[in-house]
Subunit: 205 residues, 2 copies
């Protein structure tokens, strides 16, 4: 049984990886079940039997990706209590996964709003949970250091900084995830500290 299950898991992972490549190359709209079947070496009838639709495949890719990122993040955060270090761990965790799975991340960024109904709401719930973890990390720092930034703009700016790298990352020029996470962490953490602008804004409100 165990051997059967792990063989099935490997086969599923391999099909999802091939499907990710096809979505990456052709875009979700441009990809057909026939393309997906060809790439993964499974018959078209088999694809429809096991996956029903390309929507289901996109759903499985997204679910697998987010579940993995959140799981790794939780085990990293367990070991840290300093709010700045926890935010740095969030950034490193995101970039490490992102850079090791660039095609999947591009597909996720691009096909953000394709999934409808049940699939869509399940993925949106996982994303909200990931977003919420980041919000809690920032709010912890904000309370502890009495900072005044807008949490929403800060969280979404941080996601922008991290996610935009799929358009420009060049390993020879930019180094690895740890180096980039350090530089981005420096910019972001200094950025949300209280400066003269923040104090001015606080006086106005």
């Amino acid at each position: 049984m165990l051997t059967g299950k792990s063989r099935f898991d490997r086969r599923l992972s391999s099909i999802l990886a091939h499907a990710t490549n096809v979505f990456y190359e052709k875009g979700y709209e441009g990809a057909s079940m026939r393309d997906l079947s060809r790439a993964s070496g499974m018959s078209l009838a088999g694809m429809y039997h096991y996956f029903e639709s390309k929507e289901k495949l996109l759903y499985l890719i997204q679910k697998h990706t987010f579940a993995t990122i959140v799981e790794r993040l939780r085990s990293r955060l367990e070991e840290l209590s300093d709010p700045e270090q926890r935010i740095r761990a969030f950034i490193l965790n995101h970039l490490e996964y992102f850079l090791a799975n660039q095609k999947a991340m591009k597909v996720l960024s691009h096909e953000d709003d394709v999934l409808k109904n049940g699939f869509g709401s399940e993925i949106r719930a996982i994303k909200r949970e990931y977003y919420r973890i980041c919000t809690v990390l920032l709010d912890d720092l904000k309370r502890k250091k009495m900072l005044t930034f807008s949490t929403r703009t800060a969280v979404l700016s941080l996601f922008g900084i991290m996610n935009w790298i799929y358009t420009w990352y060049n390993p020879r020029v930019d180094g690895d995830a740890a180096k980039l996470a350090g530089e981005m962490g420096d910019i972001f953490l200094r950025g949300i500290r209280n400066g003269k602008n923040a104090k001015k804004a606080a006086r106005v409100n």
Copy 2:
């Protein structure tokens, strides 16, 4: 002649706007010349006659967008000499255009690498020019304030902060371009100042 030209320009703008909508809804790969012809009310034969291919349409959309952004930016920068204010003007200019033309900006972000050969190299040159302006603005500030950040990571983080808003912007929650440009400018400009992290990094190197 003038009337003819301006009528032609209006017709071209309208066709590009319709094509932007189609690319936005269906993705570049998923859109056909037939979809583009239907949306713009021009016959399929007319579309092929005037635009040759959907690649040419995407090229015209991208060229028009970047040319407009750079032109507005240049006229804003002419009036400013303070390096921080110039960076803030860059951010405001980008966000104003972005939020007023969200569909075009999403198409541009998504179909970044579709154009090949001549079209592609022309658009890449305009983008490089835009990127170069931002680099010069940051290097000016860096020199004047003796800062130590990586210009490349900073420029690309700033583009990430600004461009990612197409995934989350909600006018009722987030306010207008001026408000967001203020908040993002605060985070970014504080972020690239020298802090203890930057000094530590400088000692190590």
